[in-house]
Amino acid sequence: MKSDLDGVVTKLIILSSKRIMPGELLSKIYSLKKDLIVKETCFGAEVSGKKDDVEDALREARSLDPYGVFVKERGFLPGDPRRCRATRAGARPGFHQIELEVERLPLIAKALSEYERGALLRREEGEELNLSAGRFKEIIEDTLKDMSV
């Protein structure tokens, strides 16, 4: 089935980053001067347009913080009244899902960065991953601090 929207994709960019704010992300995408609909959201931005243009925008977005920018497909165009909170009072179901997944993103971001540095090895079944010396030191210090209170 073909329509006007054929070839148009919409992606959600979700930030879990200390390095960039949604505003910077938007400026970066705007600076590409592509024919895109860009909208700031609670979690980052929505980008909609031709597939190649959207992919360029995503590449730029990821370059800002390779491990702090996450991307998900969206079926609806930004602001589509069929799914928009403004016309339905409550959030669409997918919003709650992002709310929950966002809580785990810092863990994933950290692990990704360590993986890319080659610092991670696969854990065998039942085996605990060794703590790094630095992390072990932090835990000791935190525990001692708690005990002294």
Partner: protein, 148 residues
Amino acid sequence: MVKVLVYPANSLILADLVERFGHEPLSVQQEIREKISAPGLDSPPLNITPDDPKIGLRYAAVEVPSGVRGRMALIGPLIEEAEAAVVVHDPDPTFGCMGCARTNELVNFLIRARKIPLLELKYPSTEDDARDFVVRVAEFLKSLENGK
């Protein structure tokens, strides 16, 4: 590039990882996009019409609730299209197309029945778990490349 189905099929984390490691995540949102932009259909919000639960009869019998069959009409074709799958077993609550426990049970079964390369794991809640999660997913996705 391999078409990888993720479960939950609308997971941000899984879809991102699949794409990040060079494969194509099969997502329900793509199916939804097809539906909502299909000309001649006007059944907002998702343009799922009463015909979809009937299409879903391919996956579940008529005594199965219409919501299960309607969801299967969306997800079923993705399962059939998938060349590999990453399944998370105890995901956070997933809403909408993945919001029905009965549908999710059937989806899990059908993914296994496909006998495609499959990675099953749990959602991480600690740093160590997250590291292991990322390593496993990354290695699995890389092995798909090599296998091709």
